[in-house]
């Protein structure tokens, strides 16, 4: 039912016993579900949003557990649990093979999936807030391509050209290079698409296409000059996959992603205000320039880190925030944490599908997210054309 109809419906309904009416008046005495429905009718979705976040925490934990337990090899779960609950030592509970499969293959993979999914979904949500448009997504507008260029540059030229620098930053070389690529693209995109505080959607999408093509061309040149080993690295990386997950990769990407995720809640109110335009946000007391700078750097950092470890996994950043907006509304105070949780869950589940659908081989996860995400994206376009100023 439309919320406004719900309001009038309540008023128009024949009044029950006056005593009953007295009882239902304060919202606190209602059952949680009825309370949420009353809130919804009154345009308040905050309680629903908090409930959904709690539910998502549970779902994420379940998905994480399921991911560690499933796979082509049937490493025994009861044995793992026996070890985890402390009834037996690791050596006694698990065979060496199972221990390696679970601790060194599946666990890092699930952790990486969680991190990358959260990073991609939150980047999408922040970018949509920044551009004030639900179609902005790091994958769609070329930010991922820019990050990819940075990563490819590092893989191909890293050892030779940036040798000393490479040695200095070590495991962070790839994420940092991807971050710089993403930062440059986001910055260019914002300068091109935004004039006087107004962002043109058409310019944003088209500039994204151009920037992605440019980054792709440079990447092509680099692939051309790459040697055989580098080519193999590039191919695996470019498919978009969590297959290469290792604790070393996590050590490189996790600090950047976790730092970005820690910053993002402080952007929520500012991004909400930005919905009404840059001038209105300033009128409401938001330091707009600082907000934009922090948002751009955060998006670039988390997209860069995610792309560096998992290649180009598309559509998470657009699908997740959109689904959540349908459920709990666009308030970034709830949308951003919920996006992190749902994004992580989605990627873990997609990865489970990727590695179990054609055993013992596995599908690149980017293919799965594209199969699910691309039709969804088209559906968004058809459904909301008028609302997005297209």
């Amino acid at each position: 039912m439309h919320p406004s109809n719900a309001v009038t419906g309540d008023i128009m309904a024949p009044d029950p016993q006056p005593s009953q009416r007295q009882q239902t008046a304060p919202a606190r005495r209602l059952s949680p579900l009825a309370g949420i429905r009353a809130d919804w009718a009154a345009g308040d979705r905050s309680r629903l949003a908090r409930l959904l976040i709690v539910a998502l925490v549970g779902i994420t934990i379940l998905a994480f557990g399921a991911s560690v337990m499933t796979g082509a090899a049937d490493a025994s779960i009861s044995n793992l649990l026996r070890w985890l609950t402390g009834t037996e030592t690791a050596e006694a509970a698990l065979s060496l093979r199972d221990r390696i499969i679970i601790l060194d293959i599946r666990l890092p993979r699930a952790v990486l999936g969680l991190l990358v999914g959260a990073a991609l979904a939150v980047s999408g949500a922040v970018m949509q807030g920044l551009f004030r448009n639900p179609l902005a997504d790091p994958g769609l507008v070329g930010v991922s391509a820019g990050a990819g260029l940075g990563a490819v540059l590092t893989i191909v030229l890293g050892a030779s050209v940036f040798g000393p620098l490479f040695a200095l930053v070590g495991i962070y070389a790839l994420p940092v290079a991807a971050f710089l690529g993403a930062l440059l693209t986001t910055f260019l995109l914002y300068r091109i698409a935004t004039r006087g505080g107004q962002t043109s959607v058409a310019t944003m999408l088209l500039a994204g296409v151009a920037l992605a093509a440019l980054a792709g061309a440079v990447t092509g040149v680099l692939i051309f000059v790459a040697d055989d080993k580098q080519l193999r690295d590039l191919t695996f990386w470019g498919l978009g996959s969590l297959a290469g997950a290792s604790w070393a990769k996590i050590a490189g990407a996790a600090p950047i992603i976790l730092l970005s995720l820690a910053v993002v809640p402080f952007l929520a109110r500012g991004l909400n205000a930005l919905t009404l335009g840059e001038a209105a946000a300033f009128h409401m007391g938001v330091p707009v320039q600082r907000l934009k700078t922090v948002a751009v750097v955060t998006v670039a950092a988390s997209t860069g880190a995610a792309v560096a470890v998992s290649g180009g996994i598309g559509f998470v950043g657009i699908v997740v925030p959109h689904v959540l907006r349908l459920l709990i509304g666009p308030d970034n105070r709830y949308l951003l944490p919920a996006s992190a949780l749902l994004g992580g869950t989605l990627l873990i589940v997609a990865d489970m599908v990727a590695r179990t659908i054609v055993p013992p081989a596995e599908l690149p996860i980017g293919i799965i997210t594209a199969f699910a995400g691309a039709p969804f994206f088209l559906w968004i376009l058809l459904r909301g054309r008028t609302q997005m100023g297209l």
Partner: protein, 270 residues
């Protein structure tokens, strides 16, 4: 009081405001009138602290350039011209934005006050603009006039108390009645007048000279980026001024003293 002292604004290479001086006092409704392109909105932007300008803009005793955005937000709120949003916020969520970033519901330590107060001000602000039952509606589904009133409720809730800590707050309204029907034009102008009566100040860009004459305490007339005349309605709204500023010769009329019948030719039935 808000004061503009010798304000010059250039947009690109074009000088838009020349040496604008104006004073808007607390307790008064100050109307800015003038033809299209005379610099009214730019003046408003300068008063809001939104654009860079030469000269000084004071709110109370403070230069607005010395105040942080969140400090300014506790002293003045702005109703912009039509705003389009691309996310499905409800009316309540929009109005509450004014409260979560504004000052009405924050305590001295910066923590938000109790949610009950937030809900109450949200509801009161919506009722003040005659949108009492609209909290659950989606902003994007409202008509232009309704959206404008939601924005006004949002601005109003940001500085809900006309006087706070002994300092008056100011509502800056850019064409507040431009897309409203006659009844709501009166509702909003009365609301603005009431805000002044309770000690706050209002600066409004107006196009309707009759409404202006009816509600304004002080009129600032602008033309070609300059202030041409300022003062109370009776001294500013004259035949000569209207012709000079708007380039359109018209009669400014006043009702004859009470009790004397008069006849307007437009009422003739042919």
């Amino acid at each position: 009081m808000i004061e503009a002292l010798n304000v010059h604004v250039r947009l690109g290479s074009k000088a838009v405001l020349h040496d604008v001086c104006l004073t808007a006092r607390a307790g008064e409704l100050t109307a800015i009138v003038g033809p299209n392109g005379s610099g009214k909105t730019t003046t408003m932007k300068a008063l809001a602290g939104e654009i860079a300008c030469d000269g000084r803009v004071l709110i109370g005793d403070d230069d607005i350039r010395s105040l942080k955005p969140w400090q300014l937000a506790t002293r003045r709120a702005v109703l912009p011209q039509a705003s389009i949003i691309s996310f499905p916020f409800t009316v309540r969520e929009i109005v509450r934005m004014g409260l979560t970033v504004g000052a009405s519901t924050t305590r001295a330590n910066g923590m938000p006050a109790d949610p009950g107060l937030v809900d109450r001000i949200t509801q009161d602000a919506l009722e003040a603009v005659d949108l009492g039952g609209f909290a659950g509606r989606f902003y994007q589904e409202l008509s232009g006039g309704e959206q404008q009133r939601v924005q006004l409720a949002r601005a109003l809730s940001q500085i809900w108390e006309p006087v706070r800590d002994g300092r008056p707050a100011f509502l800056l309204l850019d064409e507040p009645v431009s897309s409203l029907d006659i009844r709501h034009q009166l509702t909003i102008m009365r609301l603005a007048a009431d805000y002044c009566r309770r000690g706050g100040g209002v600066v409004a860009i107006m196009h309707d000279l009759n409404l202006t004459a009816m509600f304004a305490d002080h009129i600032v007339m602008m033309k070609d980026g300059r202030v041409v005349e300022a003062g109370p309605p009776v001294s500013v709204l004259t035949d000569e001024m209207v012709e000079t500023v708007f380039g359109c010769p018209m009669r400014v009329s006043a009702l004859p003293p009470a009790g004397i019948p008069f006849v307007l030719p437009q009422t003739a039935i042919l």
